[in-house]
Symmetry: C2
DNA sequence: GCGCAAACTTGTCGCGCGTAAAAAATTTAT
DNA sequence: ATAAATTTTTTACGCGCGACAAGTTTGCGC
């Protein structure tokens, strides 16, 4: 096989062309003549040479790196979005690197620092929300082309892509009102994510529009253990008689899952048939919402679309330079199942 | 505030000490005199200088990078393990980078390539399993100190850390036999993960030991959509009369969740009380197993311990050089809940 | 105060590649 | 066949830092 290739110099020598041309090839394979490209790719098979990514990125004005940051990767929603985003980046020829803030402000700041030193072409960032260090994020956005997704933080970055929380809530509130008694809204008192506030507002607005009295139950709890917070909160709310009526709309599916567990523990049968005591609905289209017992009625994010839109918006901005800040909110789809 | 710092040279000048000393500080803050350290750290606050990570890693013999690779990040088990591993790495002063193979052999190979070019100090890798390219992995392990976790691939890498599937299965089989009729084993015919085979073997062994006839139901399906595979497979198995007895042990919790959905759809009440038709148990201690209805009886991984052991084993090997290959299997804890 | 080790400084080299400009070779159009 | 356009080569420099060697200062125990 011949001696091992140590650097681009040696590789170029082995192929029989000059190093700058090889360098050009790695920057963009289309930019060299087809015959040259073929020769390089043939040699690439023969010797398993790969350019040193550190040396590559050191002098490049703009790298092909893309950072993907989510607030909590163990949350299936973010895991799923992150998965699709990664795939889209790779397809577009970028090198994605995935980060999770694990719910920590400090970690989010550190990630921002790390990211800056990586000179990324762009960043897809879902902020922690309430716990985000605004100043740090604003400063970061000034230096790195950043697309904010999931939850909006003012008008930072080049654009925002997320779900249309008002539409989400309106659709399901409407559905619940049409098919039975109007829902009570079940949420966390101090949610990590600002989307929760929008959903509460949208619920109140929709209820008033439909001529019903809104009724919000906010349960205490901090952090990302939503199911347990909902389970405990639900028990307390039931005992305190806060759950009026027989229909509960949860601010998200994870809360709904925890609430359903509490219902089970209290012997309350969940479902939309006559023999059931209570109706439950969620929002998000959690990967496991199909598999709860009974299967959960919810409004599902259009995961593919959100990710696709976020990725393409970023890539366009990278190609064509910064335009005016814009916000895209994607509608969800009502998924009618058995809980409501 | 003074002019912006562009590189270590300028930073050192601003602090009033020499560049090599600053370099030494970043390599190991303890290695410089306390007074010098204080001066550097004071300046670090003033100017927000960070060394260029590409230039840093280019010439270092051994970086502080650690790669973490999991087969499928949208699986809550891996999301949770990855989360803890990342934290441990940061605590130990390493810079973790997270990768998910997304269930794809090609992607796993690419990650291995990327990782090699990152010159990581070490790698924590959970292989795809059946779909892993053995040769590529073996070759990788020869070049990079790799700790394999979750599912063992021969004796590759410096060590293996995982769960004790035999103990897992024995414990729960024993429990099920003692508290009711012996279980049928429910699994995927072609599981992605080799642990599944061990669990089947362990089930058969345990059943024979306890004097019962083992009975395995293997359902068809490929990929990582375990719940749906289990749901469909369960329906078919019920219809074909393959589910003998009233107790089902699932190869993992995600299958159990899907199977419970099927039971719900068939009107079969799951639980361990007299009014229930069927008992179900799983394995893994899935984050949502507490919240199924009824809550799922399972054998839980000791997530913290597995991650801790994996991390410390790698770090020890990095400090003290390669020792003989060793394998650690950590026991799980029976979590008795309401399904069995 | 002495002596000595640890910590620091100065200076210099090189890593592997990006990048730029000018010269040479090749392809394409006329 | 010749001119024009494109691609490739040559040459040269620099990025920001790690690593090393040799000399200088500092801190510390006696």
């Amino acid at each position: 096989m011949g001696a091992k290739i140590r650097n681009m110099e040696e590789f170029a020598a082995a192929v029989g062309i000059s190093r700058p041309t090889v360098s050009k090839y790695f920057h963009d394979p289309e930019s060299v003549r087809p015959t040259t490209r073929a020769r390089i790719e043939a040699a690439l098979e023969k010797y398993d040479y790969r350019p040193n990514i550190f040396a590559m990125n050191q002098n490049r004005k703009l790298t092909k790196n893309v950072g993907i940051v989510v607030p909590y990767l163990a949350d299936p929603f973010f895991a799923e979005i992150a998965r699709i985003l990664e795939t889209r980046c790779i397809e577009a020829g970028y090198r994605p690197t995935l980060f999770s803030s694990h719910g920590s402000t400090e970690l989010e700041c550190e990630i921002l620092d790390t990211l800056r030193s990586m000179k990324p072409a762009g960043v897809l960032l879902a902020p922690l929300g309430r716990a985000t260090d605004r100043k740090a994020l604003e400063n970061f956005c000034r230096h790195v082309p950043t697309l904010i997704f999931d939850s909006s933080v003012e008008e930072f970055g080049i654009a925002f892509v997320g779900s249309d929380n008002f539409q989400f809530t309106r659709v399901i509130t409407d559905y619940l009102c049409r098919t039975g008694s109007p829902p009570v809204f079940f949420e966390m008192k101090t949610p990590a994510n600002p989307n929760a506030h929008r959903r509460r507002q949208a619920y109140i607005q929709a209820m008033e529009q439909f001529g019903h009295e809104p009724h919000v139950v906010s349960v205490p709890g901090e952090g990302w253990a939503f199911e347990e917070i909902a389970r405990r909160g639900a028990h307390e709310a039931f005992e305190a008689g806060q759950i009026t009526g027989d229909t509960i709309l949860c601010s998200n599916d994870r809360l709904a899952i925890g609430l359903m567990t509490a219902c089970y523990e209290r012997g309350l049968r969940v479902g939309r048939t006559a023999d059931c005591a209570i109706r439950v609905a969620g929002m998000d289209g959690h990967p496991l919402s199909r598999f709860t017992c009974p299967p959960l009625t919810t409004v599902a994010h259009d995961y593919e679309n959100v990710a696709q839109k976020a990725a393409t918006t970023l890539f366009e901005a990278l190609r064509e330079g910064p335009g005016p800040w814009k916000s895209t909110r994607i509608e969800g789809k009502l998924v009618m199942r058995d809980t409501a």
